[in-house]
């Protein structure tokens, strides 16, 4: 029981940290892409949109090569640690948050920026109020970012190694139990993963709906 608790806690912890880092990167970057008017903007957006569909195993492979003992970042000794999983999950969810942030802000009336500036907003105040106005789709971006990492298995397996007590998360544990033929265990862990995902999304949806009603 304590092992399941530890696996669950680690799953939530790494995915939450990866989502928060993705938000810290994706919110300003997506805003810059949505509001900016510069050469190469469409090209960067197309790269980000492609990144939204990055296969986790490909991310796992690239991050594993980077963090491998003989790799460029091998000296950091991060391979097969929870930090490696966080890095891989951040690579997966950051484009999702960035792309959906850009889309959320692009959906606002473009004259709203000029209106806020025309009322005396500083650039920072303008961005904060645009975020406020787009808060519901931005929350959806957060949910999609979290959803993309809590449920992925390929990258966590490849860079975490599924080490018992250290890097085993719910998805990698499900794969292991299935490979051993322990379908009952695998089903129980799957149910747990679904409940956790549901509860977190329920909380975010509640916040989103509250925002809509206000």
């Amino acid at each position: 029981m304590s092992e399941i608790f530890q696996i669950t806690a680690l799953s939530i912890q790494v995915s939450a940290i990866a989502t928060i880092i993705s938000l810290a990167i994706g919110l300003p970057f997506g805003t810059w892409l949505a509001l900016g008017n510069f050469r190469g903007r469409s090209f960067i957006l197309s790269i980000i949109n492609t990144g939204m569909a990055l296969p986790p195993v490909v991310v796992g492979l690239v991050v594993a090569i980077m963090l491998w003992r003989s790799g460029p970042l091998g000296e950091l000794r991060l391979i097969y640690t929870p930090v490696a999983i966080i890095i891989a999950q951040t690579v997966i969810s950051a484009p999702v948050v960035t792309g959906l942030t850009a889309a959320a802000l692009e959906a606002l009336d473009p004259r709203l920026q000029q209106q806020l500036l025309g009322l005396g907003a500083s650039r920072l105040q303008m961005v904060l109020y645009l975020w406020r106005e787009a808060r519901l789709p931005l929350l959806a971006a957060l949910m999609a970012g979290f959803g993309s990492v809590i449920s992925e298995v390929g990258a966590s397996m490849m860079v975490g190694g599924n080490i018992r007590g250290q890097t085993r998360v719910l998805t990698t544990a499900i794969v292991l139990e299935t490979s051993k033929g322990e379908f009952g265990q695998a089903l129980a862990l799957s149910a747990l993963l679904l409940v956790i995902t549901y509860l977190i999304n329920l909380a975010l949806t509640w916040i989103q709906q509250r925002g809509q009603r206000r």
């Binding site: 009336d109 004259r111 000029q114 209106q115 500036l117 025309g118 009322l119 005396g120 109020y129 206000r214």
Partner: protein
Amino acid sequence: MSPFITIQDLLIQRNGRKILEIEALDIARGETLTVVGPNGAGKSTLLLALARLLKPVRGEIIYDGKSLLQMNELDYRRRISFVFQAPLLMDMTVEQNVALGLKFRGTPKEETQARVGKWIKQLGIESLSKRRAGQLSGGEAQRVSLARAFVLEPELLLLDEPFAALDPPTHARLLEDLSNLLKQDHRTAVFVTHNLKEAARLSHRIAVIVGGMLRQVGTVQQIKAHPADDAVEAFLQELPQSG
């Protein structure tokens, strides 16, 4: 007395194409100048340039004795206020929308409440103060937008066809109210419209912009009697029984 705003040799381009050229234009303190012209003539561009939301490629705007480009951008924008054709209200209550510009300026809460209360009353929207922007009609939303601009008590008020999208009775009522407010307030204002009747109602002087160029400045009577060129004459002829 020197003019409040002087525009000299102004040229604004978009993608290398000229969208507005003004050789010279003065606006006196307390004056309401109405800018008329056909759609796409460059009227809104003038307002955006006056709000420092567009950069000219040539020429300058002198505001209260100082070149606009030498003034701190944010400090300048906090001395003016802009009303667009669409109300562009935020998803918040009427009160919160009206208080928005004051919040940006860090105005103390008590003063904000007093000023918001005063202007909500002036524009006859007290009964709507707790409503959310999405629940308002077009006319109500535009009243909120006007209150949001007036509450800032700006030195310069820029109005870009604020009533164009409203039905005729609402349009007429709001025009009447705005005309009274501008008369009471003696605020400097630049009002864009393509309706000469509206222009005559709100101001003494009218600036005619056609094809991205300021063609003539004068009273409606002067412009009608002596159009500066063929473009102004053609514009006047195209107007449906205005003025």
